[in-house]
């Protein structure tokens, strides 16, 4: 019997310097709870699909992680959630992207896999599908947490009103232009069309 469960709660600027003992304990307890929940299913002969879905639901319900409750905010101050699940036995898969009213997006992904002929549903259609399949639907405000909202305010403030094309602006300092090749300079000494690099929060850039 080789039943095994592995989980993650996100990667990023997680260092001892920016962690407190209380926070470390809170995260450790939440990860343990997620693991014990999934492992109990495996021990009772449950499927790996049920185990991963149950573990993820625990972390979606915890405000500590960027998933479900406690998700980060978009530029418009909304929570848009994504999730995916895949079965190694059949290669079936289901996922949702950009949902705003489904309490557990991973369960919506599972419903797409089990109860539709599709793989990926996005936006209001995915919310509608989840509602029709009887999943738990919540007000968008359910996902709000003050900590994440403050992260967004900080990001917006640091943009100083500069609207950046955040997908193409350099997030790492661009290599200095070779001498003689620098673009025409504006008064401020920045190359033409320079956009302030955006601030990627929640561990900077990580999903």
């Amino acid at each position: 019997n080789r039943i095994t469960l592995v989980i993650h709660g996100g990667a990023g600027t997680i260092t001892r310097q920016n962690m407190t003992p209380e926070k470390e304990k809170a995260y450790t307890d939440a990860l343990n709870q997620a693991m014990q929940t999934g492992y109990a299913i495996l021990k009772q002969g449950g499927s790996s699909l049920d185990a991963v879905e149950a573990s993820i639901r625990v972390m979606e319900d915890s405000p500590l992680f960027n998933a479900g409750k406690g998700a980060v905010f978009t530029h418009d101050g909304r929570n848009e959630l994504d999730a995916a699940i895949m079965d190694g036995k059949t290669l079936k898969a289901g996922s949702v992207a950009g949902v705003t009213t489904v309490r557990n997006p991973i369960t919506a992904a599972r419903a797409v896999m089990d109860k539709s002929e599709h793989v990926l549903l996005v936006g209001p259609g995915a919310d509608q599908f989840a509602k029709e399949k009887g999943l738990a639907i919540v007000e968008p405000s359910y996902f709000h947490t003050e900590a994440r909202y403050q992260q967004l305010q900080k990001a917006l403030a640091s943009e100083k009103g500069v609207v950046t094309d955040q997908l193409n602006a350099p997030t790492k300092a661009a290599a200095p232009a070779a001498p003689g090749k620098s673009k025409t300079k504006t008064k401020a000494g920045k190359p033409q069309g320079y956009a302030e690099p955006p601030i990627f929060v929640e561990g900077r850039k990580y999903g």
């Binding site: 989980i7 997680i14 790996s48 479900g68 699940i85 967004l152």
Partner: protein, 133 residues
Amino acid sequence: TVGAVALDQYGNLAAATSTGGMTNKRYGRVGDAPIIGAGTYADNQSCAVSCTGWGEFFIRATVARDVAARVEYQQVPVAQAAQATIDKVGKLGGDGGLIALDPAGNIAMPFNSEGMYRGYIKANGETKVLIYR
């Protein structure tokens, strides 16, 4: 972003990932988590993978499928495949991490960011929760 990979007593693998995306995102931006083959993948013939990282790079490098393809075609251990893929993403300029599990119960949890919340439970009940590098 949160994720899980599991192996049940029937030898079946599964992978799952869920995320709130990226703070301050615009224009309907979607990362790797919901994209099969990028942030989430499972195949009993190779391994199950769930990722967390800079979505744009994990999509372009098709990270989850890349790990599984290395195991399937190169017949390398899952830990070696996972590390090679994370190194490849790092060279592209992206960072983050992943968890992977093969049908024999072998685990990999590589990352190139400062830290990653991660943990595992094995068949004998051995449990581990890790946060820092």
